[in-house]
C-alpha cells in the first residue's frame, strides 16, 4: 500500500492548533478508539486500514483522542467513513483551545483536510456518505461536493474526464451505504 504523499504533517493544521493537536495515521484503531467508536456506532471500529486519529496534547503530556476517521482504499478511490469526534474530550480542553478549534472549523474538518493531503497520490477521488446536515456542512467546507446521488459526496482532487467521474461514482453508489 502506498504510504501516502511525503509531506510535512505540521503544514496541514493552522498555526493556532499545531501546539495542541496532532493528526496522524495509526496502524490499528482499536487501542485508540474502541470505546468512542462503539458508543457512536454500536460496534467496534474497522480492523483494516487506514485509520486517522486526532489527538489533543494536554499540558501533562498525555494525549487524548478527540477525533477519528476511517479512510478505506476501494480500488482507485478512497471511502471516508466511521468519522466521529469525542465531545467529552473536547470539553476537557482549555476554553481558549476549544475556541481555537471551533474557530478553525472543528476537528473533522481538519481530519478531512489531512486525509485529502496525505492520500492525494493514493487515489483518483475521495467519496463519503453523509446524511447528517451539520456534518455535511463541514464536509462541503473541507472540499467535498454533492453528487447527484443522495448522501453521496465526493472530492475530485485531481483532473478527471467526466466519463471517468461517472464510472467512479457509479461504482461507489453500487456499493451502498459505507
Amino acid at each position: 500500500m502506498d504510504a501516502g504523499e511525503l509531506f510535512d504533517p505540521r503544514e496541514v493544521l493552522p498555526e493556532s492548533l499545531r501546539e495542541i493537536i496532532t493528526i496522524t495515521e495509526v496502524d490499528r484503531a482499536d487501542f485508540f478508539i474502541t470505546d468512542l467508536f462503539t458508543r457512536k456506532f454500536g460496534h467496534p471500529p474497522p480492523d483494516f486500514p487506514r485509520h486517522l486519529v486526532a489527538l489533543y496534547r494536554a499540558p501533562d503530556k498525555g494525549m487524548h483522542l478527540i477525533g477519528y476517521s476511517h479512510m478505506m482504499p476501494f480500488g482507485d478511490v478512497y471511502l471516508s467513513g466511521g468519522s466521529c469526534s469525542d465531545g467529552e474530550a473536547i470539553a476537557r480542553m482549555h476554553p481558549h483551545e476549544r475556541e481555537a478549534l471551533r474557530a478553525a472549523g472543528g476537528i473533522w474538518f481538519w481530519i478531512l483536510k489531512y486525509a485529502f493531503r496525505k492520500y492525494a497520490d493514493c487515489c483518483d477521488a475521495f467519496f463519503g456518505h453523509c446524511g447528517d446536515k451539520r456534518a455535511l456542512e463541514v464536509a462541503l467546507a473541507a472540499g467535498f461536493i454533492q453528487t447527484a446521488h443522495e448522501h453521496i459526496i465526493v472530492n475530485w482532487h485531481k483532473p478527471l474526464q467526466d466519463n471517468f467521474k461517472r464510472a467512479l461514482t457509479a461504482k461507489v453508489v453500487a456499493l451502498g451505504k459505507f
Partner: protein, 164 residues
C-alpha cells in the same frame, strides 16, 4: 498479563510531535522530521495515551536503518508493578518498537541495519536477529539470501550513514 492491555505500537506520521521530549532526553537534539517513526503508546489510568518509547527507521531503498531508540524511564517507573512485570517478561519496549518496524519494513528491503553501542540495547538486538558486521557498532539482519559480495556492498553503504 499481556502488554497489549496497556501498550500499543504504531507508525505515526510525525516524529517530533510524539517523540521530541523522549529524543531530546536521550540524544540532546530534536527527533528526526522525516519518515519513518515508530512509537509505543502507554495507556495511562486516566485514559490518556502517552508516548513512552520511540525508534526511527530510515528507508534507504534496498535497506532500512533503525536508530534513535529512546524510552522514557519516568513513565516506565510510573507504571503499576503488574505492568512493569509484564514489560520485563516481554523483553522491553525497544524490542516491541523494533519488532513493529521489522514487521512493517522487513518485507520492503533486503536488510535492516542498526548502530548500537549501548550495553543494555545489545541485550535486545540479538532477539531481532541482528548480528555483528565487523564494523564497530554496526549490526545487521540480512532478511534475504544474498551473496557475500552483495552483503559487503550493503554493509559499506550502511556504514556510510553512521552514526544513525
Amino acid at each position: 498479563m499481556s502488554i497489549d492491555k496497556f501498550i500499543t505500537v504504531t507508525e505515526v506520521d510525525e516524529g517530533p510531535a510524539f517523540a521530541d521530549a523522549l529524543f531530546q532526553r536521550a540524544y540532546k537534539k530534536p527527533a528526526p522530521d522525516f519518515p519513518h517513526h515508530i512509537v509505543a503508546f502507554y495507556r495511562r489510568a486516566d485514559g490518556a495515551q502517552v508516548p513512552v518509547s520511540y525508534v526511527h527507521f530510515t528507508d534507504c531503498g534496498d535497506m532500512f536503518l533503525a536508530g534513535g531508540a529512546a524510552t522514557d524511564g519516568n513513565i516506565l517507573r510510573s507504571m503499576s508493578a503488574e505492568e512493569q512485570a509484564a514489560l520485563n517478561e516481554y523483553g522491553g519496549l525497544m524490542l516491541a518498537t523494533l519488532r513493529h518496524g521489522f514487521m512493517l519494513y522487513g518485507p520492503r528491503c533486503e536488510a535492516i541495519f542498526t548502530c548500537c553501542g549501548d550495553k543494555r540495547a545489545l541485550e535486545t538486538t540479538p532477539k531481532l536477529g541482528f548480528v555483528e558486521t565487523g564494523i564497530q557498532y554496526l549490526l545487521v539482519n540480512f532478511l534475504r539470501e544474498s551473496s557475500a559480495r552483495r552483503r559487503r556492498e550493503m554493509t559499506a553503504k550502511a556504514a556510510s550513514f553512521m552514526p544513525f
